[in-house]
Amino acid sequence: MSIARFWRETPRRYNLGGCRCTVCTTVYFPPRVVCPTCTTHRQSLGKMEPFQLSGEGTVISYTVIHDPAEGFEMLVPYALTLVKTVEGPVLTAEVVDIDPHEVRIGLKVHATFRKLREEGKAGVIHYGYKFAPAVEVDGAPRPLPLPSPAGEPRAAGRATA
């Protein structure tokens, strides 16, 4: 993946910047230009506003990957999950800071900022969100929060428009 291709999505991958339809209030991640929920969806064109996800969510499905995606060889075995955020959107993401075989449907998780993969020894390093248990598991500390987009502490579910 080219540097520009990854870089242009940084606000989303680093900070969980989604969007909200100002017509029907549905929240989306990643952001969309038009709302698929509104019955007259053209009405929402130009009316989607930025919306910050809190990073809180629940695992709704999981797998432990042994045959990895390219660039993820060092992580095997890793827990790939679907996390339903409290704001609604579902994300495909790894759950870390827990034995991958301990991940279950219903596990409460919190977004954390991590290295995703390296493109070879001299290539680009991709960073972005993963999730970690929201409560302590086996004495492990709570995960580091995502970096704040404006350098300020972030309130959950706050619109940033």
């Binding site: 993946m1 990854f6 999505e9 991958r13 990643p30 709704i60 499905s61 999981y62 797998t63 432990v64 990957i65 042994h66 045959d67 990895p68 995606a69 390219e70 993820f72 992580l75 075995p77 890793y78 790939l80 999950t81 679907l82 959107p89 579902v90 994300l91 495909t92 993401a93 790894e94 449907i105 995703l116 993969r117 991709h126 972005g128 969100y129 993963k130």
Partner: protein, 389 residues
């Protein structure tokens, strides 16, 4: 719109065919179909070619005119059109060919599907085929195609009580069927214990839950049904041809245990053909991963929601079943050359409807259904085929 028939079929052996090139495979399947249809190339109107990723896999784009050229038909200057929809490329190509004949734009067309997956290392092929999922929001975060289907499997187990053992019955039956198909990539039988004990890929799915990376090509010749008798004694009518789409990423679906694109495609297809699921005798459905087949059986309406695991394990879809499923061996055993599978499914069903499926014939097969899926269901395709007597 006029009625469309399949007049000829052809396919290569599927497998790791290191001694054969992409163009060799495509031409072999195409010529078999033309010869089978007793159609002169002078009567040909167009080629529709399903192919997923020749640019990445063999570093060759623009492949439809290339196959026309090496088939000796460049001088006819016919339209040669490539179609891509991931693993459903071949099935979507069939839809385009169907529309072309039904509309009257062309009388006779060849629909082909071809893919060459073994000219790159497995890890590269997995990356390329994994690109049928959302690269930006799934793959970047560590998702693989089997990983995404494993997420579906886990949720199906959670919501419907489907067991690992029930899921593992799917490849056992696939290999049993494949053992009777001379074109199949795998012709060995496997046991439930072997499936359960295979190395894990994406839990709960293991190596034997996943269809292989194969090379191969398949082709059919289409023409107007009212002229079909001139070419074949057993024309097979295409009673419905439906393509549907859905969200690209699995995580944008409301329900993880079904593919809405398949549910809608089946509903529209049965409506077009004025048939129901219980009229169908033989099915070729998407079983790239064992769980895919269980989902398809439910989504196509052959069993109630959540009931596929139990019904499959009871043998309801084995030879002589209601309906019989994947007599070719499916993607699992017959093989999985991505762009070719949708056409190969139809080749197998035409054999069944003609009564030519030696060693694996479903007796009295009259109505057949082909089901193809791209990625995790962003594309689904359903065709209904009927023997005309």
């Amino acid at each position: 719109m006029r009625e469309v028939a399949i007049l000829g079929i052809g396919m290569t052996r599927f497998g790791e065919l290191w001694d054969r090139s992409f163009r060799e495979l495509g031409i072999e399947a195409g010529f078999q179909a033309l010869v089978d249809a007793r159609l002169s190339s002078r009567d040909l109107g167009a080629l529709f070619l399903g192919n997923m990723a020749s640019g990445s896999l063999i570093e060759q784009e623009h492949i439809a005119p290339l196959l026309m050229d090496y088939a000796g038909l460049a001088g006819h200057h016919l339209p040669a059109i490539r179609i891509e929809a991931g693993e459903a490329s071949g099935a979507v190509a069939l839809h385009q060919g169907y529309l072309a004949v039904a509309s009257g734009a062309y009388d006779f067309v060849v629909v082909g599907g071809a893919e060459k997956l073994t000219d790159v290392p497995d890890v590269t092929a997995n990356r390329i085929t994994g690109a049928t999922a959302d690269q930006e929001w799934e793959s970047v975060f560590g998702a693989t195609l089997p990983g995404l289907w494993a997420l579906i499997a886990r949720r199906h187990m959670y919501e419907h009580g489907t067991t690992r053992e029930q899921i593992a019955q799917v490849p056992v039956q696939a290999h049993e069927m494949g053992s009777k198909n001379p074109n199949a990539h795998y012709r060995n039988r496997i046991t439930l214990e072997q499936v359960l004990g295979a190395p894990p890929v994406a839990e709960p799915l293991g190596m034997l839950d996943c269809a292989p990376l194969s090379d191969g090509a398949a082709a059919v010749v289409l023409g107007p049904l009212d002229r079909a008798r001139k070419f074949t004694d057993t024309p097979v009518a295409i009673r419905a041809s439906v393509v549907t789409s859905d969200t690209m990423a699995l995580h944008h679906r409301g329900d993880l245990t079904r593919l809405d694109s398949t549910i809608v495609a089946a509903k529209r297809a049965f409506g077009q053909a004025r048939k129901t699921a219980s009229d169908v005798n033989v099915v070729e459905l998407h079983d790239a991963y064992s769980i895919s087949a269980l989902l398809a059986l439910e989504d196509l309406g052959f069993v109630g929601k959540g009931g596929a695991g139990t019904a499959f394990a009871e043998g309801r879809f084995a030879m002589g079943g209601t309906p019989t499923v994947n007599t070719s061996g499916g993607l699992k055993a017959q093989g999985r050359p991505f762009g070719a599978v949708g056409v190969a499914q139809v080749v197998e069903l035409v054999r069944q409807l003609r009564g030519q499926a030696e060693g694996r014939q479903v007796s009295g097969a009259q109505l057949a259904l082909a089901h193809s899926v791209g990625g995790t269901g962003a594309t689904s395709v359903v065709h209904l085929l009927e023997r005309t007597n």
